[in-house]
Assembly symmetry: D2
Homo-oligomer: 341 residues x 4
């Protein structure tokens, strides 16, 4: 890709791997919202991305080759990967929080990623996929991990939950919360199609925050208390404002959605007097989230089928980005090494 | 009852209530293992119980009358109760742990309980039952609360769980763990009928620890790691020993079952080198457990039907105790104020 | 007091007490920032306070009389009190979070308080003062409890701490953090006198955020990581902004200071990408905070002497409020029943 | 060393290092209780140790050389090390608990250690020592880390603490608990000299459990409640039994001491009915414990001087082991590369 809107399909060599690396032949790759930003070449992309770069960081594939010192992964293993490569020696890494490493290098952003036939990954970031997990699910474990991280960042069984924003990760978080024993699950989402999906994924109520007083509705439905847990998946200021108003005193707000601009918060009433706990959520716990996600998937606890849309060869990438830029929810899968099963 | 084996049905006056008390007309009452001890008049009973006493502490009913200062409960409310009445001023109470109050008074043990037409309860211990919860479930919220307390005393979603002992509370804990998103759920139980029930309640595998090497089996099934969470519901030393051997390093062991005698533990290998967390579980969190349990029940997340056995009038108490003393699992319900619906 | 700026000293009867109340003869009372708002009759006061009202909620005194059902408090006991009276039945109360009760009634705000010779308090809110605690310390356990609650709302031993704002509670939080084994303690405060006090209370560095780049300074002093824990005690937007910039990824921000207006936050960089945990802090844990505070005080772990300023008879209240409105830090004590020892 | 009691000083080559290793010239080494077991060649040693082996795992030194891929450590750095080398891919490692790795390899036990002029260590296990930390403290960060891990495995500020057993790590844990704001600190220890040391390290009371009723004494001193936190550092069954009796309901028991044999526990009264949390403590959190320990040391919060006994050249190892086998508490330091400063 070049430092401008769009992307190009080019022929590059197969990556060479070091002693502790793994080379993976990509089976299926999926487009993240971040990839849309890169494709659109927005301000953030211009400041962070250094072309030429193979982008893409959601995928699954088969190990083609492993470095000399790699003992736990073998050729032929079906894998995906944690694409955030942490440094191991900064204070967050040393404090057991590698997911917020200060020197993180993200494959597909800071180095070559997976929209290609082959991708090179450090062995310790490779995750073997349980055979019970279907291929198309394996391709989206990166964003599913965001959802699992957010939903399970605190207690959830027997608690009332609000999910603000029903984009792909918001939808996944609904499935995770439901599978984890949440009580009433409210979703708010302005897009009618996504509200339909939210209900399919397990929301008890999918509310349109642009119509009527959703805050009053949720407070009334919870005996005036508000929800115990708020999963903020939209990044939209209105959703954040209303979400905090719907959160009960002493509740948990876990924020994953990325607001474009700074957000003005009524800290006194929404956080301080409420004694709320607000968590910033980034990436996936390494590797607690991967363990929990694997278990939920291999036991069939998560039905993610409603999320999947188009499957297409990598060559049709412009169609794929156009489709997603049109605002349609759901995951589009690429198959760089041949057609989908 | 008298200081000897057995019990008597006697006519006693309707309890008088104080300004902060509530009088409840008992609809259905259920027999706890503790009641069996009292009926059997074992050493513990002889030291703790001061007859005459109306025993029984699992029930639901309708409020008949409330004290002058009671504002949150009204006549006609359908209720059950937390029968552990805490003092409010000991150090555990002051530290947010009223469930282990040093001066607890248990209704049905230290004061009159619910095997009667009427029971008197302090208003703050009365729990209004959500209308979506069926009557027979409302009658067993006390032991179900033990199960919820045990299962949700730590993370459980996406984790492998072992339940040792499939008596009534063990069986309930299987349902709770399953509803809360646990991964593989192993149960161990010597009684074949209870193993059947364990599977009905949601266990993936119900193993007979007297046959074959269950420890090896569970370790093999978990890639040599062992389970993440052990819920000890049997009180049996063999189950405890094997359970700890099946617990993975860094795992959680939550102990609710009551061993008759002191238990010899291999602390070094089973706890210390493992970095295990062992939790003693007693009663129900007041009232976090009640909130979570109510939500799970009113959303229909727990199918407890396999647990219910006989329903009989209070007069047939001797039959009921005989049935339970025969070792049959399941809950027997009394109806002191008329027949079951 | 009347619905206007200022207050009046008036003769009112001794409060009558109910069966579960305690009557306390006030020994020393202290002025809270909230009292300044009430005295100044700002917008918040006009909306919340219903005169006539005896305000004031920080004090200590001697029990004069107890209600008929009070068994744990006696005449002559030296006491202070938690002045937030919780309802006991809302969802936060039921979830073990009575400090954020939805129906809280605060004595001195919603009902008569302690700027008087006598104050009536429900027995369960009365706190017996350990004899090892000096009288003037006993008078300020309410705000000290805010500081203890904030500092000990997460891990602190061996961690670098930032306290933003060195008003009375900020200063107390410095003493608490220091006594609890914090590593480097940075304080930021624009007022030079308060910076002096911050160092006396135990800050390693007391920085003027209006001079130079304090963010860079703190980042440099922490190897680029930032502090592990931020205690926000100022309520000032600049302090909050800079504080978050000084917080390391994965850190804890505990917010007690009350901003006058909504605050615009760079949620993405300061909270979400950082994986920060932000806690709203209100009141005191009931009564974990009181237990911890009592232990710290009776063991002499907290030197609060630098905080104390004037002591005066209650009659001189106008002088006291004028002194505090002038912006001087420190606590002013009233002695409604005679002169200070 | 050979498969028999005792050890030999032998000339071996300087270890060769791999690309990710570091070679350290040992400055000072210290003897652990485990080393006494190895020297004494007990049953455990015979089963675990495969001679010839250079044992020893507590030390500090100066980096002599680093492997080709090591970027964060340089020649000349003053370092110590976490000698538990974890695998990174077992379930505990993946769950953020590498300190209980199922495939751990301990340098000095499973591979060559530090009782030598040079020791080879994987770079990620090397810990740079802050310049403010004195050399003899740097040499004992391994056992000090055990103490920090144990003391800080839960809340401790403002809480009453019992330390059972005042051997070196028990004594260190007293210093850590004191520095972290504990309330009353009780120590129990049968050896009079160690009781003296316990008081020097900061115990309020050092009790002889073989004289009088220490359980009653501690219960009386805590208003009948018992201590909030028990740090079990002895491994002795009597200490464990009495410790649990002194633990309050809802308290935390953190077990580090290694009992020789299985221990019979009154699980019902000491753990279950008490709602106690019992934690097995092993090794050091990697590397949270190291961060906290470093901060406590470099800020001078821990006075460990009373712990240090003899300093001697490595050649006098037989004298050193004889001294420690005589039951004297304290740390003996070796200087394999020249005399102590």
């Amino acid at each position: 890709m070049r430092p401008q809107r769009g992307a190009q399909l080019e022929s590059v060599g197969v990556p060479t791997i070091g002693a502790t690396d793994v080379l993976v032949r990509v089976r299926a790759a999926s487009i993240c919202g971040t990839d849309l930003h890169i494709y659109g070449w927005d301000r953030w992309s211009a400041s962070r991305i250094h072309p030429p770069l193979t982008f893409g960081h959601e995928f699954c594939g088969v190990v083609e080759k492993v470095g000399d010192e790699v003992t736990t992964i073998r050729s032929g293993d079906f894998v995906t990967a944690e694409m955030h490569v942490n440094c191991g020696h900064c204070r967050p890494c040393r404090m057991g929080q590698p997911h917020v490493c200060q020197n993180v290098k993200i494959l597909g952003i800071d180095a070559d990623g997976c929209f290609a036939e082959f991708v090179r990954i450090p062995a310790r970031n490779v995750w073997k996929v349980d055979p019970a997990i279907p291929e198309h699910y394996a391709a989206i474990m990166d964003p599913l991990g965001n959802a699992v991280h957010t939903a399970l960042a605190g207690e959830i069984a027997g608690l009332n939950v609000l999910v603000t924003g029903a984009g792909p990760i918001g939808l996944m978080s609904i499935a995770v919360a439901r599978a984890s024993g949440c009580a009433t699950l409210f979703a708010t989402e302005v897009n009618a199609h996504r509200r339909e999906l939210a209900k399919k994924m397990g929301a008890d109520e999918a509310l349109d925050p642009s119509q009527g007083d959703v805050v009053k509705h949720v407070l009334d439905a919870t005996d005036g208390a508000g929800v115990d847990v708020m999963l903020e998946m939209s990044g939209h200021p209105d959703a954040i404002h209303k979400g905090f108003q719907m959160l009960r005193p002493g509740g948990r707000a876990s924020l994953l959605g990325i607001p474009k601009d700074p957000v003005t918060l009524d800290l006194v009433n929404d956080v301080i007097f409420k004694g709320a706990t607000v968590q910033g959520i980034y990436g996936r716990r390494m590797f607690e989230t991967w363990v929990q996600m694997t278990e939920l998937l291999r036991h069939g606890r998560l039905n993610l089928e409603p999320l999947f849309k188009e499957r297409m060869p990598l060559e049709k990438f412009d169609d794929a980005f156009a489709l997603l830029e049109s605002g349609q929810a759901g995951k589009v899968l690429f198959y760089p090494n041949g057609s989908a099963k």
